[in-house]
């Protein structure tokens, strides 16, 4: 592995050294617009992709617009994200791009930053009070689940039995599961069970093994996420039952999109809910300072179904996710 600027930045962010480089930058940055970014650390595949695309976008924007300066922080839990926002605020930022780890506990700290005149961009998840964020860029979580449910309705027009894996117990997971169940109502499709697989391949493998033991008939599996789906795939293939069911993950990991492109017999589709949504969030925020663009509002990205026909459009071979 070569030590690139990006990987060095990642290491610095990972070990908390990023904060140490701040004061040096601050001295020559008086006339620059400073954009603080607070995102979760790379704790599972999706957040790994999020970090990758954040660093990529920052590098591109800094190269294109020297009058902009970006301060990146990553946090492993809610409390450290609150600390990061306080630190960014103390260092003086014009705008804050935040992907809140949880909406409720982060609303107050973000409101405090806003009270100092900071422009707030919320990504993926809104804050708990109306009107805190000036700009919202998000995916569409109910649509994500509706697309998944419609996929199974299409595959099983006569009804059938599907097994579901939930993610990490969070508000997002609840929104998705609720919308999924609601869309399936009256379709004749029965949900056998829903266990938490934490969006994790190892857990996906174990939960799938046990589903396979327990249910003699499974027509479909919604793993909720591509990491979990890859684990489930290994378990289904081990049991030799790949002929009898369809497996759907979600969120657009490049390895899974490649499988869809190559016509994998088990996974023939994916749902787009990409970590790339941080890219427009940073860019639109930056445009406010680079070109004085009026950007306030809500930007909701679609979560379309990815199939062999359109997969190439969503394929990022170099991304770690």
């Amino acid at each position: 592995m070569t030590i690139t600027r990006r990987s060095l930045l990642a290491a610095a962010a990972g070990t908390g050294l990023a904060a140490a480089t701040g004061p040096v930058r601050a001295q020559d940055a008086d006339d620059k617009a400073r954009i603080g970014i607070a995102i979760p650390a790379a704790t599972h595949g999706w957040t790994g992709g999020l970090n990758y695309h954040t660093e990529r976008t920052i590098a591109a924007m800094e190269a294109a617009f020297p009058q902009l300066e970006f301060l990146l922080t990553t946090a492993g839990d809610v409390q450290s994200q609150v600390n990061n926002i306080e630190d960014l605020s103390a260092r003086g930022i014009d705008a804050l791009v935040i992907l809140p780890m949880e909406s409720d506990p982060l609303t107050e700290p973000v409101k405090f930053a806003k009270s100092k005149g900071t422009f707030i961009t919320a990504v993926d998840r809104g804050l708990s009070e109306e009107g805190v964020e000036d700009l919202y860029v998000g995916g569409n979580n109910p649509q994500y689940a509706v697309v998944a449910a419609e996929y199974f309705k299409g595959k099983l027009p006569q009804g059938g039995k599907i097994a579901v894996m939930r993610g990490i117990p969070t508000a997002i997971d609840n929104i998705r599961i609720e919308a999924f169940q609601k869309t399936l109502e009256g379709s004749g499709i029965e949900i056998l069970d829903m266990q938490y697989a934490n969006w994790n391949p190892d857990k996906g493998f174990e939960v799938m093994q046990d589903y396979l033991t327990r249910f003699p008939q499974i027509d479909g599996v919604w793993a909720g996420d591509d990491d979990a789906a890859l684990g489930a795939k290994a378990a289904i293939e081990q049991a030799g039952r790949q002929g009898e069911m369809k497996l759907l993950g979600g969120s657009g990991m490049n390895r899974v999109i490649k499988m869809v492109m190559d016509g994998d017999p088990l996974i023939d589709a994916d749902i787009f809910y990409p970590p790339t949504l941080i890219v427009p969030a940073i860019q639109v925020t930056a445009m406010r300072y680079a070109t004085q663009a009026p950007v306030k509002g809500r930007y909701v990205l679609d979560s379309p179904l990815i199939t062999a026909e359109n997969a190439a459009e969503y394929y990022f071979p170099d991304s770690p996710y």
Binding site: A11, A42, H44, G48, R166, E206, A239
Partner: protein, 331 residues
């Protein structure tokens, strides 16, 4: 129960309690098996039992290493991060070597690298604890963070995946069988038998136990205390390397969340098995039972919807406490 401590008990009852204390982990295991049978007819199928045994063998091999460390009154919190780090390096080595070598030697060298990295990481932990005289808890908490960050860095936050050309070569290490027994189960059984013999019959095991019960007395008895303590950490590292050999072929990828909390599972298995957390008393067969107890609990929870998945953790916690309660000492 508290009455029993004050009033004279029938000799037969006392005998039964001593027996229960000795066989506690097995009793808990049997209890769980009955519970599993009641919960689901699929539980007793050969396929299900083999699934549980196979996936328990990864934590199992790590926990056997932990049995020696804990018996010598040490502690290694870094095993989960070490497993992820070792697996990541081994995959990178295999991918790199596949460019210059045929698939089979590349895979073998990559797996050998896993054992070497594991032993090396164990030696670092051991040196810092034994020579550096830093508390094991702190040393391994530190190396846990270091190795976890390194694997995240190597993976660029995403995953490190094995080249598809290499997957076929390593696959039998997880999915293969010998005489109908899955390879990981076989490896786990061999490691367990060797460790049980080393612990109860060999000088090494007696020295580990002696150091754990009183290091000063052990030193006056001319036991090479530092060397033995060092050896337990290296042995732990080798066990992690060995577990990695089974883990990597399973999904062919490592993510920053690989091996998260494995250290707690391993330590829990060791204590459930009757090894004293304060050292001086180690039981390898107990650890094996402990690992199977943890594996069966999550298996049973997946096989039934009797317990809401939100309460899985509570159920697991209760089983751990009950298993240790069954074998507590009196007085």
């Amino acid at each position: 129960m508290s009455l029993a401590a004050d009033t004279p008990v029938l000799p037969a009852l006392a005998g039964a309690r001593r027996l229960a204390a000795r066989l506690g982990p097995l009793l808990a295991l049997a209890l769980l098996a009955v519970l599993g049978m009641l919960a689901s007819p699929a539980f007793l199928s050969a396929e299900n039992l083999m699934n549980v045994l196979t996936r328990s063998s990864i934590i199992g091999i790590i926990a056997i290493g932990a049995t020696f460390v804990i018996t010598a009154r040490g502690l290694d919190l870094s095993v989960g991060a070490m497993a992820a780090f070792t697996a990541g390096l081994s995959i990178l080595a295999m991918n790199g070597l596949a460019g210059i070598l045929p698939a089979l030697p590349a895979a073998i060298l990559g797996l050998a690298a896993a054992l070497a990295v594991g032993a090396g990481a164990g030696a670092v932990n051991g040196t810092l604890v034994v020579k550096g005289r830093v508390e094991a808890f702190i040393v391994t908490l530190g190396t846990m963070g270091i190795m976890r960050s390194l694997v995240t860095w190597l993976a660029d936050g995403g995953s490190i995946s094995l080249d598809f050309a290499l997957r076929g070569v390593g696959r039998p290490l997880y999915y293969g069988t010998v005489l109908g027994i899955p390879v990981p189960v076989l490896v786990f059984a061999l490691v367990a038998i060797a460790a049980e013999i080393a612990m109860s019959r060999f000088r090494f095991g007696r020295h580990v136990t002696a150091i754990g019960s009183n290091a000063d007395v052990a030193r006056y008895s001319a036991i090479p205390v530092d060397r033995i303590r060092m050896a337990t950490y290296v042995l732990q590292g080798v066990c992690v390397g060995l577990a990695t050999l089974i883990y990597v072929p399973r999904l062919g990828a490592v993510t920053p969340s690989t091996g998260m909390l494995w250290e707690l599972e391993a330590i829990a298995a060791v204590i459930i098995g009757g090894t004293a957390l304060s050292g001086g008393h180690g039981r390898v067969w107990g650890t094996v039972a402990g690992v199977l107890i943890l594996g069966l609990v999550s298996n049973i929870l997946n096989l039934t919807d009797f317990v809401s998945p939100h309460l899985n953790g509570a159920f697991q916690g209760a089983i751990i406490v009950i298993a240790v309660f069954l074998q507590r000492k009196r007085g």
